[in-house]
């Protein structure tokens, strides 16, 4: 496989790789480092890469492993998500903005309390839209385990929201 073809393939899903790395490590600098490390791995293993059935899943798995290595080497500080992402687009008044921030904070607190595996599955399913089979391949679980974890994550979220709104 030509170098240009490999570059084209990886460029096609680089956003997913970056978002996954960002979700894992919590800051854009480390996420960018991980992405660069991934490119080097792809370059070094380009012959093997050409033969893969699912190149995207392989890249996602490598990204995950690189992120885990990075996390192990340092203590992860969870960033305030509201610094990075926009809130509701329909927030015309300051009161509404405050309300939205509070709601978002509650959501983030619930998500942060979840086990890492459940957060990972929510990211891969709800943000990246992967199937259960693809998620299982990326994180090294069976499909059934993925389904169970997703069920638990969403149920936990639903129950917590109920408690918050009583």
């Amino acid at each position: 496989m030509q170098n240009e073809t490999i570059i084209q393939i990886v460029e096609g899903f680089k956003d997913k790789l970056y978002r996954y790395a960002l979700k894992m490590v919590g800051n854009q600098f480390d996420a960018e480092d991980i992405l660069q490390d991934l490119l080097i791995k792809v370059w070094k293993k380009k012959d093997e890469f050409s033969q893969l059935e699912n190149q995207e899943a392989w890249c996602m798995t490598v990204t995950r492993n690189l992120a885990i290595d990075k996390i192990r080497k340092r203590k992860v500080k969870t960033t305030d998500i509201t610094e990075h992402f926009g809130i509701s687009d329909n927030a015309p008044t300051p009161d509404k903005i405050t309300e939205d921030r509070e709601s978002l904070k509650k959501v983030m607190d619930i998500l942060n309390e979840m086990p890492e595996s459940q957060r990972e599955i929510i990211h891969l399913r709800d943000i990246e839209g992967y199937t259960y089979k693809e998620i299982a391949e990326i994180i090294g679980m069976t499909e059934d385990q993925v389904k169970v974890n997703l069920f638990r994550a969403r149920q936990r979220f639903k129950e917590k929201l109920k408690v918050l709104n009583i």
Binding site: N3, I7, E11, L39, I40
Partner: protein
């Protein structure tokens, strides 16, 4: 329960397919599902915002960007070996068949005689055998023709 409510319940129970989840998110974004809590709205907004994050420009290793990369041809050994094996089997089969054919072909009995008088004697015997069988054949024909004439079929 409305169809939207049902879909939302299915979502929280992790019973939705990937397409149903896309549909649910699209409905929420379009404002078709109104009975959502602020937290649910924030949650789905967060998912949407996260999915819009873009990666920065990638810096590929210099060697990969070198467009004058030598063209390599990938040779897959398994199909090649399979073809070679098939040809060998075919060739072996043909050799076997030819050998089989040669062995079943009856060989003529050949006697080598050096003495010319003996050779003449053998030849005479062979012709005598031939004429004996020939005469037998002609006698049979004569007998048969006689019978046919007696029948008065053809006048």
């Amino acid at each position: 329960m409305s169809a939207y409510e049902t879909l939302k319940e299915k979502y929280w129970n992790a019973e939705t397919t990937a397409n149903e989840e896309k549909q649910l998110k699209a409905l929420i974004e379009a404002g078709n599902i109104t009975d959502l809590t602020d937290e649910e709205i924030s949650y789905f907004n967060l998912l949407k915002t996260n999915s819009n994050i873009k990666a920065p420009e990638l810096s590929w290793p210099e060697e990969m960007l070198n467009t004058k990369s030598k063209k390599t041809k990938t040779i897959f050994l398994t199909p090649m070996l399979r073809n070679i094996a098939a040809v060998c089997v075919l060739a072996l089969g043909m050799v076997f068949l030819v050998k089989q054919n040669l062995s079943t072909t009856p060989k003529a009995n050949v006697i080598e005689v050096e003495d010319p008088e003996m050779a003449l004697e053998y030849t005479k015997q062979a012709f005598a055998l031939l004429s004996k069988n020939y005469n037998k054949g002609t006698e049979n024909i004569k007998t048969g023709m006689g019978e046919i004439s007696k029948l008065n079929i053809v006048k």
